[in-house]
């Protein structure tokens, strides 16, 4: 699975995700990626893209939950994503990338690794694969 989230200079947020799904998938199985609110979501608060065990991401309507947690509790993107990663999902389930309306970026996972990268207009740059790098 691959995904991207962005905030542009006009303050607009967007999210996109694309995938080949799960190896050896059967029965026309579909995961979280094309389910708006689960694997892909953007509103005026945040844009989020997910990757991982699709069924778990869908059960927790994960991407939308991150944005809603921010909107309804006043939490930061980092806090909201941490809530879903640690309190809603189980270890090994998933990873997320997100950006909020202020341009704050969060990339968190409870898997061993996630291919990820980020950059903002201030030059803050990250390119990482594993948790501790």
């Amino acid at each position: 699975t691959v995904g991207a989230v962005a905030l542009d200079s006009e303050g607009r947020l967007a999210a996109a995700t694309s995938t080949g799904g799960m190896t050896n998938k059967q029965f026309g199985r579909v995961g979280d990626v094309p389910i708006i609110g689960s694997g892909t979501f953007a509103n005026h608060v945040a844009a989020v893209s997910a990757t991982g065990w699709g069924e778990q991401i869908m059960r927790n309507v994960s991407a939308n939950t991150i944005a809603n947690h921010m909107e309804f509790t006043g939490s930061s993107l980092e806090e909201a994503m941490n809530f879903v990663v640690t309190e809603r999902l189980n270890p090994g389930d998933a990873g997320f990338i997100g950006v909020d309306s202020l341009g704050n970026i969060s990339m968190q996972m409870n898997t061993a690794g996630m291919f990820r990268a980020s950059l903002d207009a201030d030059g803050n740059r990250t390119v990482m694969i594993w948790q501790d790098e």
Binding site: T1, V2, G3, A4, V5, A6, L7, D8, S9, E10, R12, A14, A16, T17, S18, T19, G20, G21, M22, T23, N24, K25, Q26, F27, G28, V30, V33, P34, I35, I36, G39, T40, F41, A42, N43, H44, V45, A47, T51, G52, A94, G95, I97, L102, G103, I105, M107, T111, A112, G113, M114, F115, R116, S118, L119, D120, A121, R125, V127, W130
Partner: protein, 178 residues
Amino acid sequence: QKEWAIALHGGAGTISQDLPDSVKARYYAGLEEALRVGELVLRDGGTALDAVENVVNTLEDNPLFNAGRGAVFTAEGRHELDAAIMDGSTLAAGAVTGLTTVKNPVSLARIVMQESRHIFFSGVGAEEYADQTSVERVDNDYFHTQNRYEQWQRSQEQASAESTPMTMEKWIEDSKFG
């Protein structure tokens, strides 16, 4: 407040730290390339939608990642692709699932979002919708990579070695995603 910002991912899961340095370098280069694409769009005042579509297109075209070229194999030995896109400024959204001939599924998802009255098209219908657009089409073999093929063969051998019928829950539990 940042003027613009972008983040991307290429999948999560069990990624061995023992990857050869040459392979690690290819992954880092793939991530850097995609990040550069997004940077160029946003730095020049482009839209967040253009940035995420172009970044995802770059990752779809990179055979290292499980999307577009390099996608995993289904049990039937083919490729079925899914994608979605959402504009946070309008709550407009587009999604497609079960595509087999669309080179860049996220671009079709964007056309669904912007040009149709609907949000989500699946399978044969999604392919028929693609016929009415100018999205680039490819044979399903285009998505084939040797690495994914060997991964699929190992998965097939493992499945056939199971003496008891596989339940849906067990099948999902032991599979990898991302």
